[in-house]
Amino acid sequence: MVDQERCARCGFCLSVCPSYAATDLERHAPRGRLFLLREARAGRLASAQLAEPLDTCLRCGRCREVCPLDLAVDKAVLDRLERPADPLWRLLPGPGTRLPGGLVRGAARLTGAIPPGMPPGGARRLLEGVVRRPSGKARWRVGYFPGCVHEYLLPRAALATVRVLVAAGAAVEVLPWGCCGLPARSAGHREVARRLARANLASLPSGLDALITDCASCAAALLEYPELLPEERHSAGKMVALVRELSAFLTEAGALPPTRIGRKVTYHQPCHLEAAWRASPRQLLDAAALFREAPGAERCCGGAGTYFLRQPAISRRILEEKLGGLAAVGAEVVATNCPSCALQLARGVRRAGLPFAVTSVSEVLAEVYG
């Protein structure tokens, strides 16, 4: 529980909040949200009036990073949102359950989640359960968790990740896991998230050297399992110790790109990417291609899961600012390591007719590790 009384109202959070940047309204800034939470708790503001300020929060966590008092405003918002889940949330797949891929993709196209011109490329069946081995002796044995968005909407990125890991010398087992639980958690359905997390933990294979994920949001969710499942803190902690974002793993392991392609690439940093893992994607891209850092590389894309459907106007404004910075650097390709961000960026690129492609970091790496 974040102590709302501690907020000194210095306003530093305003300088990084994407929703505040989009509207310039204090109620869309962490400082404002924290104040409203306090007023609601004191009975001076009705819950109904709290809904919009809280719902416009992207839960990107940037505020937490700059707050001098380390106040986790995004968590405070989440805590407040908690409510019992309606039955629809039970549809989130657990381990061993699969949603009909075609149906999911169809729905995604209808809502505009996947823009035309961004084919998913490949089916999950190729990934499931199989352990891919390198030629020669495997240097590591890793589990790979692609996450739902990769699995259902952008499997080609996941395929690229597997290729890269194998080429680097790892034996890769695609984990039989279900949803990481983040969508439920973000919507305030903590119990649903706990159920999914527990099931995932129970089906974690043993003997892994690392647990690789290339979705920054899933990674962030996994790192929170100990807090989500305090009664299983021990096993959750053991899992967390294994988690690595793809680029971080490759740099740690010394498996650097063997060559460089002559493509101009820039990087979008997902909001949920752990601070410790922010340098590696850039390092690898710099070694693998002609890399330039874009102004605002760390700015939010405005996607935030289903945010782009719930708050389309704000999402769009955030995206416009973001694309402005990306376009300025003259890249051919924008690479990122969160498929939800990739889809948001791709939607914006298509709408604005911008001349670059959006892809995952692993797809760029796959061209050189190959």
Binding site: C10, G11, G32, L36
Partner: protein, 769 residues
């Protein structure tokens, strides 16, 4: 303004009810205009409806200035574009809602920076910085925000829009800077940018005794070194920072100094010199770094200090007292004793070079006893600061927080005069009411002031009664004001009466230096300040008005006002001095001033060049600025001749090197360079010659860039001349050239308020050159 441009829903009213201080206050509504026109419309409508308006940037101010009780909050956050960056002229034009750090980042790639860098700079807006006259660590060397705002567009309480410049005959802009949103709302700012030093070094020195640190500070400044920043953390602050984040400070240090040095050339960095000063003063440990990441690491502990205090304590109250530089160690001791007496922990952070300290009072708001004790300490600190000749606020402003305390610092006559200023801008009194000035009438005792200043004031009162016009410059009583009252080497200030000639002052100052010379050989301090004219020294030292820390003025009602003081930074009340500086005696008669001084440079070197024409002169000036900036770069031009004066100040080595470099550049351009033994007086001679020729000279500041000079010259005709330096060119015309627009409302009202019978220099009128 769009549906979300005017908000009355409760969540919006609530989220505009606070700033970065504790109290909250619910507005009726919030308006968020998108451009200057909308700002004016909002103010006009509010004025007609009798609704009070409180302007707001990011609401990060520390004095309660952004909150309003039942009025309309006018948020400027949507005017957030950087309109123009002109690296050649070293200026930027910005809207008030741009965050300070955003401007820094926009100009960084040009090798420039915006000098005022308050701790809040990532979120505080430039409009807010201007309204509060914000400070920051860099202000030691470069000055406070007011010195970096060159022009602005403002809207008054009734919706009237004005374009103001620091060069105006009545410095309304100077009055608005630091006025905390009570005189006008900024809708556009033209700001000065300064070159970023190419080489930086950061020193961290730890001392076992606070007094040793203070000695090091004093000796550094006395040695002529003006660091980019000089920050002090006392032992209590160091202890807390170490406990919370283990920044690597030595645990036994009673004081830690962080000194940042900058220079265009690596050889000029006085690194060894300052390290030696610290060691000789008794530093137990001195570490220096030059590489960027390592410098950042040294600063980390200081930068996170507030955060550490916030984590170590449920609540913190930050004070902002400023004392004359040489009283800083004593002030710190008094703060400590006050804290000890009442059992309150008070870590201290100080901008050591400015005498500005921030005692942070740590307390628990749920403990009534503790809260009372905290207030007792607060009170003692204010009393101590005033006793040492300081000001209750150097940076954070008065807001609501310090209104009552202002009465303890400013005399009733001064508060009354400030009230007149407020009325001149906002007669209805609805722009940010309840801020800055305390409510209620001041009890002004008409006690007679002794000495020549009092005699002069009484003479004015008699003249006013009889309605006799007064030619201020030749008032007989001025002759008696010929004393250099005080010179403080420790504080680098001098209190000088108006009748003292600048030449005589220079002789008396010895190893200290007041750079301005005045328009003629016989110029007095009073003339210099009353005219406020640009001269060669302004290129390096800024406007004359910015070197005046305190002013004593006799007004037509027979009173003597003592404005400002001997401190480097002071935002207690309005900068009322600026009404009298440069207004040529039309509002009051300057009788004495506290001037800011500098250590006299070891060497000076002068050169003169004769460019063929204005176009070549402009090229040469650009060329010279592309290298290391000279300290004087003065152009004189009348249709017959062009001259360029070049001057270098500093150590013998620096002056020699830079002079040679400049000579090399010029010679490569085929320009012959004449060394000059003494300071050339071409600029004074030009004015003299024109006065002979035309029977008088009318000066008019021109907003000309170097690129525009030649074209201006071609169009200017024959009855004109020019002098000045980049960013400060002045056109010279025969008298009687009507070129000025009628004075703005507030200027007219000021004249009516301070000189109701119109006796002071009536031949000059208001706002006419």
């Amino acid at each position: 303004m769009g549906r979300d441009g005017f908000r009355t829903a409760l969540p919006d009213r609530l989220t505009y009810a606070y700033d970065a201080t504790g109290p909250t206050s619910l507005p009726e509504a919030v308006a968020l205009p998108r451009d200057a026109d909308q700002v004016a419309q909002v103010l006009r409508v509010a004025h007609r409806c009798g609704v009070p308006v409180t302007p707001r940037g990011a609401g990060s101010n520390l004095s309660g200035g952004s909150i309003t009780d039942g009025g309309l909050v006018l948020g400027l956050a949507r005017l957030n574009r950087i309109l123009k960056v002109d690296p050649g002229e070293r200026r930027a034009v910005v809207q008030p809602g741009v965050a300070n750090l955003d401007l820094q980042e926009a100009v960084r790639l040009h090798g420039l920076m915006f000098a005022p860098d308050p701790a809040s700079h990532r979120v505080s807006t430039l409009g807010g910085n201007a309204a509060e006259n914000a400070g920051g660590p860099h202000c030691l060397r470069y000055g406070v925000t007011a010195q970096h705002v060159l022009a602005a567009e403002v809207v008054l309480a009734d919706g009237q829009a004005l374009r103001l410049s620091r060069d105006d005959p009545c410095d309304l802009l100077g009055l608005c800077l630091g006025s905390e949103g009570t005189l006008a709302v900024f809708t556009e700012l033209t700001v000065r940018l300064v070159p970023q030093p190419r080489h930086l070094a950061t020193l961290l020195a730890a001392f076992a005794h606070l007094d040793d640190a203070a000695t090091a500070v004093a000796r550094t400044v006395a040695a002529g070194v003006l660091p980019e920043a000089m920050e002090l953390m006392d032992g209590v602050a160091v202890g807390i920072v170490e406990e919370v984040m283990a920044a690597g400070f030595p645990a036994t240090a009673d004081a830690v100094l962080l000194i940042e040095l900058g220079a265009a050339d690596r050889r000029e960095l006085p690194l060894e010199q300052v390290m030696a000063i610290c060691r000789e003063a008794g530093a137990a440990q001195v570490v220096a770094e030059e590489e960027a990441a390592r410098r950042e690491a040294l600063w980390a502990g200081r930068r996170s200090a507030y955060a550490c205090f916030g984590k170590a304590s449920p609540a913190v109250v930050i004070q902002d007292v400023t004392v004359p530089r040489d009283r800083l160690p004593e002030m710190i001791q008094r703060v400590r004793r006050a804290g000890e007496r009442h059992g309150i922990t008070v870590p201290i952070l100080a901008h050591a070079g400015d005498g500005n300290l921030h005692p942070n009072l740590l307390y628990d708001p749920t403990d009534t006893g503790g809260v009372q004790r905290m207030h007792a300490v607060e009170e003692e600190i204010v009393a101590a600061c005033l006793a040492l000749g300081g000001t209750i606020t150097g940076e954070h402003g008065v807001g609501t927080h310090k209104r009552e305390a202002l009465r303890r610092q400013l005399a009733p006559a001064v508060l009354t005069a400030m009230g007149r200023l407020k009325q001149a801008f906002d007669p209805a009194g609805r722009l940010n009411p309840g801020k800055l000035l305390p409510d209620g009438e001041e009890q002004v005792t008409d006690a007679s002031v002794q000495g020549p200043a009092g005699a002069l004031a009484r003479a004015l009162a008699r003249a006013a009664e009889g309605g006799e016009p007064v030619r201020v410059g030749i008032l007989p009583e001025l002759a008696a004001l010929d004393a250099v009252r005080e010179v403080s080497a420790g504080n680098l200030t001098a209190v000088v009466e108006a009748g003292v000639s600048l030449a005589r002052l220079d002789r008396e100052l010895d190893s200290l230096f007041f750079p301005f010379r005045g328009a003629r050989e016989s110029a007095t301090v009073g003339e210099l300040l009353a005219r406020g004219e640009s001269e060669p020294a302004c290129y390096r030292y800024g406007a004359v008005a910015d070197a005046v820390l305190g002013l004593e003025v006799a007004t037509a009602d027979g009173r003597v006002l003592r404005l400002g003081g001997a401190v480097m930074k002071d935002v207690a009340g309005y900068a009322l001095s600026r009404a009298f500086l440069g207004s040529r005696g039309t509002l009051g008669v300057i009788t004495a001033a506290t001037l800011r001084l500098w250590p006299r440079a070891g060497a000076m070197r002068w050169m003169e060049i004769l460019p063929a024409d204005l176009a070549q002169a402009a090229e040469l000036m650009e060329e010279l600025r592309a290298g290391e900036d000279p300290d004087r770069l003065e152009l004189t031009w009348d249709t017959a001749q062009v001259r360029l004066l070049l001057g270098f100040e500093g150590s013998a080595e620096s002056v020699r090197r830079r002079g040679e470099e400049a000579r090399g550049r010029l010679e490569r351009r085929g320009m012959a360079v004449q060394p000059a033994g003494e300071e050339p007086q071409a600029w004074r001679r030009l004015v003299d010659a024109l006065e002979q020729r035309w029977g008088g000279v009318c000066r008019r500041p021109l907003d000309l860039s170097l690129a525009e000079l030649a074209v201006w010259g071609a169009r200017a005709g024959s009855q004109v001349a020019l002098l000045g330096h980049p960013g400060g060119f002045v056109g010279l015309y025969p008298p009687g050239e009507r070129r000025n627009a009628p004075p703005p409302e507030p200027a007219r009202r000021l004249k009516a308020a301070f000189d109701p019978r119109g006796i002071l220099n009536p031949h000059l009128g208001v706002g006419r050159w």
